[in-house]
């Protein structure tokens, strides 16, 4: 009772002052408030926005922990050589050495992301006099998972400020944003500091510092090497388990799959969007495979590497799985209607693979595909609703006639 009562007293003390939203936020973060509703409709539900957000964070934690181990593993393996045919629970991967290297790199990213983002949220809540909104809880977790490991912290801070203010607060805060804030932050980084966001020197810890020394290492992502028509040495199981270089938390398709099942089971994430995104990606990948099969694209073409990749492998590499499960399903920026969700998801998958193959400057298309479809989501909904209205009007006319 102690902490809860103390927080409640603190809240009462600051009631009506400018700082009240800040204290309310701390109070309701873990506890239900003491006040009860006195009149009007009573809706009893265990999950409010904060609980919903916490469930998504729970689904993300495995990816974060895996990312820490993987960061260390990639660093050591780039120097000492990769282990062939590793199983998921291999001791070569899950050891303290790997974890320490990864944690030292990734925890600062998490701290900066949450620290800066929440400060911006608190400032806006105090100025505008509304409650602190919970929207940043998930964004703050997503951001460190979708950036390269060596990203300088000040760049992350600048991008977070930009993403939260321009991506969200100017539209009116949580629930009003058009674009996914986490992807806005990543897009900002991508266009502002391209040398830190792509290439072969950013995906493995310290690759940049070691350039030119005897220990020089380079770590292309799968997409990066395929875009240059180079063969990759990683096996399919490596890709599925996630023992490959990439952004911090997006490499392990296995853990993302588990996260997806968890989100679907708790009814937080939309299975329609996830499934249709996968179908869209497979269709586009299959079309490209057929183009290669027909002989329209030869091995000399710059698109050959990615086009000839078996269509199902597109799901295993790059950030596609992560984007489809955690970002495309954002309830604020996605389509709201069920039919709209199918169209929205399908186009995300379809366009992701298209950008991937056709534009080597943007090795991963899922970020741009989701942002593009975020913009179109309201339009899709509009036509779905209008279509439904028309259908019903028609039915009404037939009856009266």
């Amino acid at each position: 009772m102690g902490l809860k009562q103390n927080l409640h007293n603190l809240k009462e003390k600051y009631k009506g002052t400018k700082m009240a939203p800040a204290f309310n936020a701390i109070h309701t973060f873990l506890y239900l408030p003491n006040e009860t509703t006195h009149n009007g409709t009573h809706i009893k539900a265990a999950d409010d926005l904060k609980r919903t957000m916490n469930i998504v964070i729970m689904a993300l934690v495995p990816c974060l922990i895996f990312g820490m181990f993987n960061a260390g593993y990639q660093h050591n393996a780039a120097i000492n050589g990769f282990t062939e045919g590793m199983s998921f629970f291999s001791g070569d991967f899950w050891n303290l050495d790997n974890l320490l290297i990864g944690a030292a790199k990734i925890l600062p990213l998490v701290i900066v992301s949450y620290g800066v983002g929440l400060i911006v949220e608190f400032i806006f809540a105090v100025i505008k006099g509304h409650e602190v909104e919970e929207g940043y809880l998930v964004t703050g977790m997503l951001v460190p998972l979708i950036v390269p490991i060596d990203l300088p912290l000040w760049m992350l801070a600048v991008a977070v400020i930009f993403g939260v203010v321009i991506g969200k607060e100017v539209f009116g805060g949580t629930g009003m944003n058009i674009l996914n804030p986490a992807l806005t932050i990543r897009a900002f980084l991508f266009f502002a500091y391209p040398t830190w966001m792509s290439g072969d020197k950013v995906w493995v810890a310290d690759a940049r510092e070691l350039t030119g020394t005897a220990d020089a290492i380079s770590g292309e992502t799968m997409l990066g090497s395929l875009a240059q028509n180079a063969q990759s040495s990683f096996s399919n199981w490596d890709m599925f388990f996630g023992f490959i270089p990439g952004s911090v938390g997006e490499t392990s398709t296995l853990l993302i799959l588990l996260g997806a099942l968890f989100l679907i089971f708790t009814k937080i994430g939309s299975w329609r969007i996830m499934l249709s995104a996968v179908i869209g990606a497979l269709v586009m990948g299959f079309v490209f495979n057929q183009v290669v099969e027909m002989g329209w694209i030869g091995e000399t073409s710059k698109f050959y590497g990615l086009m000839s990749l078996d269509f199902w492998k597109h799901l295993l590499i790059g950030g596609f799985a992560f984007g489809a499960v955690y970002m495309a399903t954002d309830p604020v920026t996605a389509s709201q209607t069920n039919k709209g969700k199918w169209i929205y998801g399908f186009l995300i998958g379809f366009i992701s693979i298209m950008i991937r193959v056709f534009n080597p400057a943007y090795p991963e298309g899922v970020m741009l595909a989701i942002l593009l479809m975020n913009v179109f989501a309201p339009t899709i909904d509009h036509y779905v609703v209008q279509g439904n209205v028309k259908k019903r009007l028609k039915r009404a006319k037939v009856k009266t006639a």
Binding site: I166, F191, Y193
Partner: protein, 215 residues
Amino acid sequence: MGLLSKKDAALITDPFADNNPITIQVLGICSALAITAELKASIVMAVSVLFVMGVGNVVISLMRNIIPSKIRIIAQLIVVATLVIIVDLVLKAVAYDLSKTLGAFIGLIITNCIIMGRFEAFALANGPWRSFLDGIGNAVGYGVILILVGFFRELLGSGTLLGFKVLGDPIEKTGLYALGYENNGFMLLAPMALIVVGIIIWIQRSRNEALIEEN
């Protein structure tokens, strides 16, 4: 302000703040996005528009009673086109390199919405002196925003101002760059110019009580 009556003075000061052509009327956005990656280009553009606006408004005002209203747009276009060609040729003669970087945009002053807008809205109905003041006022209001946007975009995007390396040398890592600072490449892209203009509008609207809308 002995020179100007109160009404005339408002012609110059209004477009500067409360009725700024870019941030309030949202005209002339195209050039504000296209050429503001460098401060120098912004300044040249601002001066060019100042000349075209000032002279153009006077010419149109003088001819306002003899232009048939059915063909007034064509008549206005010919006046702007003439003035723009003068600007273009002067730039080519005086600063050839700069005219090359500005390229088509000097020519596109013709299509700048502010110019046609002021001809239509003001010069066709007012005397030459007042039209001149109105033209100067609007061009200055336009130029100030252009220079402001150009300042931030060049400073943050290239780390320079008018070509001087104010933040240090990015290749030799001096000044700020020694601390790990890097130029923001997004600033050089047109979308960021739109966002910078948006932020200026935001700040102006939240500070100026007259502009806060009821809701």
